[in-house]
Symmetry: C2
Subunit: 461 residues, 2 copies
Amino acid sequence: MSLERILDRIDSDLDPAIARLMELLRIPSISTDRDYKAECQRAADWLVADLASLGVEAEARPTPGHPMVVGHVGEGAPHVLFYGHYDVQPVDPLNLWSREPFDPAIEETADGKVIRGRGSSDDKGQLMTFVEACRAWKAETGEWPCKITFFFEGEEESGSPSLVPFLKENADEFSVPDLALICDTGLFDRDTPAITTMLRGLLGEEVIVTGPKMDLHSGMYGGAAMNPIRALARVIAALHDETGRITVPGFYDGVPEITDEMRAQWDALGFDADAFLGEVGLSQPAGEQGRSALEMVWSRPTCEVNGITGGYTGNGFKTVLPSEARAKISFRLVGTQDPLQIRESFRKMVREMLPEDCDVRFEDHGASPASVMSTADPAFEAAREALSDEWPNDAAFIGSGGSIPIAGYFKSILGLDSLLIGFGREDDLIHSPNEKYDVRSFHKGIRSWARVLDALASVKS
Amino acid sequence: MSLERILDRIDSDLDPAIARLMELLRIPSISTDRDYKAECQRAADWLVADLASLGVEAEARPTPGHPMVVGHVGEGAPHVLFYGHYDVQPVDPLNLWSREPFDPAIEETADGKVIRGRGSSDDKGQLMTFVEACRAWKAETGEWPCKITFFFEGEEESGSPSLVPFLKENADEFSVPDLALICDTGLFDRDTPAITTMLRGLLGEEVIVTGPKMDLHSGMYGGAAMNPIRALARVIAALHDETGRITVPGFYDGVPEITDEMRAQWDALGFDADAFLGEVGLSQPAGEQGRSALEMVWSRPTCEVNGITGGYTGNGFKTVLPSEARAKISFRLVGTQDPLQIRESFRKMVREMLPEDCDVRFEDHGASPASVMSTADPAFEAAREALSDEWPNDAAFIGSGGSIPIAGYFKSILGLDSLLIGFGREDDLIHSPNEKYDVRSFHKGIRSWARVLDALASVKS
């Protein structure tokens, strides 16, 4: 049977596949920092060339931000749209990395070999599992498993500003497929693969509070002049009440309780909250009282301060009374919470809390609702069985605390369901120093996609 | 009379005096930033050479930090100790400067000529007013006005860590003088000179709150993991109550009400609080309810956040849940408030407010009590009259919001009273971008010191 031959070829081609991924990882495609614009273009061009080596005619299509890589190949049914992103998170604090973030290497660890480097797990390594599965399929059979549209974004880590306009402008080209495949999620645990069926949305806001029109000497003005850091701290402190609930008016409108069925399935996973928190040096779930840690990250909304700055932050001390303080604040959203309504309510609350002598302005860093997939499509069960064949444990349908807005856009703009399959692990340190991807994730990830493509071809053809 | 000849020489020597100051201003002696250590040494060496050109044998004496410049000259009575500091504040944010901070120049403004550059007012320009007065006196008369010990510090802007040990080790050398002269304060207004008789103390604390042991992805952990920015914001928000009072337990122990006599003198100054705040874009005194703005800065204690940082603060957005957040917090102290007791009380309050999963450490950035001078010494009245002769309006005894801990140390270690005379103006932008010193302040400042030295010689000899 050809699937076995394809899997054998994946095994024997693993070293060259890793070498190809290393090339891509060496490109510092940090999308949120405008200093790296040319590097994002370079990553897009690399992918176009790599797809071309498979016989896929792809293009790096310009946008007002970073390019979209698009390629079409194959014939017949099903027609799937595969999505991944080639951009990566910033690397600071650089001093906490054990090696240069963009000089990746294979490292031996107690838990097996890993590929260390920014983007290895999020999302270049994951994206390449699908590309390598296609490469092996084509090399072994001379054919494509089905009709495939490749779609790689370069702005996922910076709020995807070009995505919606691009999908809308090219709706004809993208609305053909039966199903979207997205590789940007994780395993449930080392031996248990997962299909993510619930994703939180994300609202990102930057709050800039200004007080005096210039930095002041705290001796000369301290006491008499309003300090914008103090005003901003008051706002942040007020965003949660004593029970951990978020206080933005109307925030919980559209937040559902999970079904009893889902709760039973989650309980069966045997999630170890103590280990989950203990691994990062914590002991107490910090969210709403009375909720489990798993609920807090999979099915409850959040408000987090992702960054704050104001005044003198260098070495030593400076008795300055600053003119400005700013915070980057994000909300993870669930159910049918409306990001735009929450943005308005949040901004109103901030304005009302500030003293008369402070002004505020807001910068918009994206607003996307949560996604909940329907598992009724037989493709979901077929994919779950295919994954179960590859890994020690059966695959599970799970939730995810992260936000993959693309799944929501595929549904709202293209009417397309998404199958979210990924091989990341919780200790991959994505968004942190020393990001890694297990060689096992990469290898079995490629094999998993070969199995899933085979299963989908059976279901949909 | 020789004073008139000395004043004439000061007038005719103004341009070379400015050129000498410019040389000193070109040395970026930022004491708080260890990258500028060699520049601090260079500034000390420049002062040693400049004093040598006057015939003063001075030395740059090493300390664990930056050098102390010490020189002795002259004979007889009185014997005064003159203090200034050659270190300067950091220059960030650099983009708000209209010129390079260490490339000073004379600029024409609507209010007259100014010397623009970091340190022009705080404190290099002020320090040089005294040196230039001595230079003119010596050049014109061939003698010194009295016995003088020059003492220039290089760590005033970074908490003066070496000062107390140095004074204690050299107490014999420094305990001789009758009176200390300190030039690091301001005029009351453009035409009204001032002798500062009340100075606030300063307690500087850096608070470093840690939560998870690494930066986390806010999607994967958000909700479940404690965010140290949120914990720090809660602490900062709680430091003031709704009436603007500081909530650190015991904080107001030792805070006196000013005397009726002092209040009457201050009322007579006609301080314009609206203009004072309006000039920096504010309208409301932000301190304790029921206190005037002048009280807030001259006679009431404060708590200010001078800097805060945590998480991602670069361009764009990063959904990180940070491992650490830090704030630089300072307290201005008055009366007999005990900085060490307040430090303990503050640290205890912070520790008690933090959630279980946060740790905190503190860095000490100095602790000095307030100073209140006795104006009974006839030197105070003699100096006040000498200043009144130079400026359009009579000189006043005033308070100051700033902290000049040296005055407290001179009292506690050497038993020495300090005469605080300076020529800075409130719009000098010290500690801010575009710092300047009026040429008029520099010129009349030099003349003022010649008059004061003449008056002190009459009183004390």
